[in-house]
């Protein structure tokens, strides 16, 4: 059993590296075909990351993005789960809010930019709000759908064992819908990061997004490629950590 699991883990790891290698090869071919000035090659991107790491200003931008993301992620999780659970519990609230949230999910958040800037100005708050705006809708939607579709038998078990309202939420509802919540969190936190970076691009002078805009303005495609690559790695790491946590917490339910 253990050896089979180890074999599957090794196979999964091997598949991941094969996919990674294939992506690098495609990237390199695209760079040869289109030109190194537009599609910077993988090797030069990595070299540029090395250059950025040695620049003292880079770490200021990097820390600013991480800090804004930490704030945005915390607010997004609390708000998304709170809204999702409250709206999911009540059928009337679900029926009323679900179409509105779906509409909000498909709305390009950039259209709300002027409003956010008017309220929060240029700086830290605006990019946090922009991140929250991106992440809170998918987390709320996933959570409320999970709560709404929770198997009715769990509610009967809760009534049978006379659980208090608090225990129903903490020990029945949340564990029962946690796999779906984690799917929402994975998606929601990825787009929260996207929202923070977008916020930095247009409403901040600090952070990786702002750095990216500066590089675009100077036609410094190597820095653009390096920062984009770092953001992809950051988002992938975030998603992998969430997946790992999901499996750790829920290995029995799968």
């Amino acid at each position: 059993m253990t050896s089979l699991r180890q074999h599957l883990q090794r196979r999964r790891l091997a598949d991941f590296f094969i996919l990674l290698l294939a992506l690098v090869v495609v990237w390199q071919i695209a760079s040869w075909l289109v030109g190194d000035e537009i599609v910077v090659s993988p090797a030069e991107t990595i070299a540029q990351i090395g250059v950025l790491y040695r620049r003292p200003t880079f770490w200021g931008h990097f820390d600013a993005t991480l800090l804004a993301f930490a704030y945005a992620a915390s607010i997004t999780i609390v708000l998304g789960l709170g809204l999702g659970i409250s709206l999911g519990i009540s059928r009337a609230a679900y029926d009323t809010c679900e179409p509105l949230l779906m509409a909000l999910a498909s709305l390009p958040k950039v259209t709300l930019y002027p409003v956010i800037l008017m309220f929060f100005g240029v700086g830290f708050s605006a990019k946090v709000v922009f991140g929250v705006l991106h992440g809170v809708v998918p987390i709320t939607l996933f959570t409320m759908n999970a709560v709404r579709n929770m198997p009715a038998i769990y509610a009967r078990v809760a009534r049978l064992h006379r659980l208090s309202a608090r225990d129903r939420v903490l020990h029945m509802l949340i564990p029962a819908v946690l796999p779906e919540i984690f799917s929402g969190l994975r998606l929601g936190l990825s787009v929260t990061l996207l929202g923070v970076v977008l916020g930095e691009m247009f409403a901040s002078t600090r952070g990786l997004g702002s750095m990216l805009m500066g590089a675009i303005g100077l036609a410094d495609f190597r820095t653009v490629a390096a920062v984009t690559f770092m953001l992809i790695v950051l988002a992938t790491l975030l998603s992998s950590v969430m997946l790992w946590l999901d499996r750790r917490l829920h290995h029995g339910a799968k």
Binding site: P151, I153, Y154, R156, V157, R159, L160, H161, R162, L163, S164, D167, H171, M172, P175, A176, L178, H250, H251, G252, A253, K254
Partner: protein, 283 residues
């Protein structure tokens, strides 16, 4: 183990239903579905009572009302002399037809679930859960998760979760419906053992005639919807019994009497479901 009733002494009434009716729908002038009733029934302390009837006759609704999981439309239910109305009374446990094991908890934690929310002392929880897990033959699987168990084992986990609460009345709603015939017989033996050793009153809802006949002291045969008791048959089986009782000649007589009542009702239930399907197609 419960003491057999001495001759001449009336058995003690454990739960009682008087003119019990449960309807569904009818909100804002909508169509009312009469699920069951009126039902008047006395369930004796320590007996094994089975409810049998055609599909959709309101057996599960009867259990829900008896357990306090849903309130009756009219009529009364009492358990140990106290009224039951939409809240599960202390001393009543239930096992459902659906798999009610909690997939995020292992077997041991599933069994401990109810006690942990009951303010029971941790040492007492450990003692009772270990005992119930061993009783249901799950000791080897205590750390396994429900998805690693067979349907029968998951149902045993749910029975153990009910058992640790030490209920004085256990209600079982077709707990073995999803199991194969052989496993059902074996689970029936386990259930009889549980009933004997706990001394609890057991009310079993089933649609399997042989299961009801093999397990019960009394069997209530229900009509097609709205379900009412048409006949209550006393089997007269000894308390010490198991699935081998099926070989006895009297089993045939009990089955035949029940089938005599149920045959026409099952046909009515079939006609009802056919009419419902036709109405759905027509609308």
């Amino acid at each position: 183990m419960a003491v057999p009733q001495p001759v001449g002494v009336l058995p003690e009434i454990h739960a009682e239903c008087r003119d019990l009716v449960r309807n569904f729908g009818g909100i804002a002038g909508g169509h009312v579905i009469e699920a069951m009733g009126p039902i008047t029934l006395e369930i004796r302390r320590g007996e094994f009572f089975s409810v049998i009837g055609p599909s959709g006759c309101g057996k599960s609704t009867f259990m829900d009302v008896l357990a306090g999981l849903t309130p009756p439309t009219s009529g009364t239910v009492t358990f140990e002399g106290l009224p039951v109305r939409g809240t599960v009374p202390d001393g009543v446990g239930a096992v459902f037809q659906e798999d009610a094991s909690l997939p995020w908890l292992n077997v041991w934690d599933n069994v401990a679930f109810s006690l942990r929310h009951d303010g029971t002392d941790p040492a007492e929880i450990k003692r009772r859960v270990d005992e119930a897990v061993a009783f249901m033959g799950l000791r080897q699987f205590a750390k396994a998760y429900p998805n690693q168990l067979s349907g029968g084992m998951r149902q045993r986990t749910c029975i153990a979760r009910t058992m640790v609460m030490r209920p004085r009345m256990i209600l079982l709603d077709e707990p073995f419906a999803a199991l194969d015939a052989q496993t059902r017989l074996l689970m029936g033996d386990e259930l009889l053992r549980l009933w004997r050793e706990t001394g609890a009153t057991v009310v079993l809802i089933t649609h399997a005639l042989d299961e009801a006949v093999m397990l019960s002291d009394r069997i209530g045969a229900m009509s097609a919807r709205p379900g009412r008791f048409l006949d209550i048959v006393e089997t007269g089986w000894p308390r010490e019994r198991d699935s081998s009782i099926l070989a006895r000649a009297e089993v045939g007589a009990v089955s035949s009497r029940l089938w005599g009542v149920l045959r026409e009702e099952s046909q009515k239930a079939l006609d009802q479901s056919g009419r419902l399907a036709a109405a759905r197609e027509g609308s």
